[in-house]
Amino acid sequence: MSRRKYPRLWAPVAVGIMGSALAAAVGVSRGWGAASGVEVAVLLVAAFVYLLGGSDSDAGAVLGNRPDERQVLVRLKSQALAMKVMYLGALIGWAVTIALKGLYWPFDLIFSAGGLAYLIGLRLYGTHDDRPIGPIGSTDALQDSPREPYNSMNG
């Protein structure tokens, strides 16, 4: 369960901030009329996320930031699926952009950042034990330094 304050607000606020950044980019490139349309759509999506976050369901628990252990797994699997689909979409976009001789460096950035994040994730979340393996049945490799054999007579 989340220890954050106002857990249900986090997802809609994140949608609002990211969507507003997109709307600002649209405003700079295509004018503020188009940007206001994007902002309205962003606010509608944020409101939908807020409402869904209050529902008695797995999606509600995940979006409302109050998942239990199974729902954390559901969220992880959903994120993994979303990442695979995004990567596939980016791969198609990359190929099409290269074929059309367009500017493809944003795709380079996506694949480089994604690949690097994957490797960092393996390093961060994996278990690492570089110490040598001792003889079968021994626990030597698990000890940081050699110890005297235990003798109960010594107290």
Binding site: M1, D56, S57, A61, P67, D68, E69, R70, Q71
Partner: protein, 68 residues
């Protein structure tokens, strides 16, 4: 893996929502555990065992597979 969570809950006259609240999980998770679709973590399994006053291995039987 088959389990006795549903039987224990019914025996105590609890709803899935009440059991979920007692265990600190969602109602959907209790449903998933009862149907055998989700194997709880060791801490949650121990909480379930403590709640029903039974050893974990009596609640969760690794020998019996749930046929879906």
């Amino acid at each position: 893996m088959r389990n006795q969570v549903r039987e224990g809950r019914v025996h105590r006259g609890l709803s899935q929502a009440e059991l979920a609240e007692a265990l600190g999980v969602s109602r959907q998770t209790v449903i998933s555990i009862e149907s055998g679709r989700y194997l709880p973590s060791l801490p949650l399994a121990l909480r379930i065992g403590r709640f029903f006053g039974m050893p974990v291995e009596r609640i969760f039987d690794p020998e019996e597979e749930v046929s879906e």
